[in-house]
Symmetry: C2
Subunit: 232 residues, 2 copies
């Protein structure tokens, strides 16, 4: 296969939508990569593998345990409490994480003579992660072009979408059923808890999009949605 | 210790000069990092440790074996012949290597509340490595500032120096004796072979600077210098 696009694929809802978009743009010429960096829940990688199989896309798992050597984040250390104080970066923040992911993807792309990278970063609900913003992505594109003397285009199809709009995009792309396998829950359980801030945000998005979430939840999860789950 | 500067330190002549410059700028507030990425010669890391000890600087060795998973370069695969055809990138080129090194250093710097990074990249004799050029460094600085919402300053004291000028700088900084332990030889031997292109380039620099190279060579190495060693 002649790879034309590489998708940063975490096994979550946003990156699954990106994978669908990339496959729509470059049919049969997409590869996915996922990073193993000692994240809180291994279930994310397992689900990424399941979706890649359904999508008939090759998935490369890259060992980036390096990150957990360099940071002290709730995403990588199970004993740090996940919280988000108003006006502060969430404690799940790994500084420069997306920067590193995209840089590694670009080196891989170079080797494959491939110039397109897809990532599901989103400025709309970026929760204070600076390396999800469009100005960062544009600057990194320029830097990578200079670093390797080859054009690299970073596609961010979800950059300005709300969660509901992302779901609508996936519906349009005809891959809604992949969401059954995507992982969102902070508790790391399947069926999903439906109560943690991540589940609540997900359910709010489906409600707004007027789409039934195919994911399995404990209980009748849609009843649990509150107006602003992260601030509840 | 309150770290103020992190130095990318390979154990080579250029990065040793950078370490000396950083220590002159930020006395007793410097840390060094070296990357273990499956490079051809382990001797580089051993020499880096020796020099760090002499300099009384903490040295962190970061496992970046990731790179050898992603590239097929002569630096990381012993069966690829080192050569440099006119107008082409040398076969030792690992695309995006400096970009990755500097990005990892920036994440480490963030954790240490430190904003200064030193690297020995040099545009003067960059041999076609695009991520040694000043326009790349400036662009990466901007990108890292955006990625982590914190100023990161990348110092490149050797950017516009010739090899001879780098040696003169080291003389001025009073650390010429460190060069006895720096590793240059492509053959990976100590005493150095004195004949490979890297040794020849090194010797040419010392000759032009009018300084005696404290490194041990097989035979009378200074006799071996030709006018343009890389094209001989």
């Amino acid at each position: 296969m002649n790879t034309k696009a590489i998708v940063l694929f975490s096994g979550g809802q946003d990156s699954a939508t990106c994978l669908a978009q990339a496959l729509s743009d470059f049919p049969s010429a997409v590869e996915a990569i996922t990073f193993d960096y000692g994240q809180r829940h291994r279930i994310e990688i397992i689900q990424a593998q399941k979706i890649a199989k359904i999508a008939n896309v090759s998935l490369k798992i890259i060992d980036l345990s390096l990150i957990s050597q360099l940071t002290k984040s709730a995403l990588t250390h199970i004993n740090i409490i996940i919280e988000h104080k108003e006006g502060e970066l969430p404690s799940t923040f790994v500084p420069g994480r997306n920067h590193l992911f995209l840089s590694v993807a670009a080196i891989m792309a170079y080797q494959k003579n491939c110039t397109h990278i897809y990532t599901g970063v989103c400025q709309t609900d970026y929760s204070g992660y600076p390396d999800c913003r469009e100005d960062f992505i544009k600057s990194l594109e320029t830097t990578l072009n200079l670093a390797m003397s080859r054009p690299i285009q970073i596609h961010t199809p979800l950059m300005h979408l709300t969660k509901a709009e992302t779901i609508s995009l996936m519906k349009k792309l005809g891959r809604l059923e992949w969401y059954k396998e995507t992982h969102t829950c902070y508790e790391g359980v399947r069926p999903a808890c439906g109560q943690c801030p991540a589940c609540q945000l997900r359910l709010k998005g489906f409600k707004e999009a007027g789409v039934q979430d195919p994911l399995e939840y404990f209980g009748t999860a849609t009843d649990l949605v509150c107006d602003d789950p992260l601030k509840s």
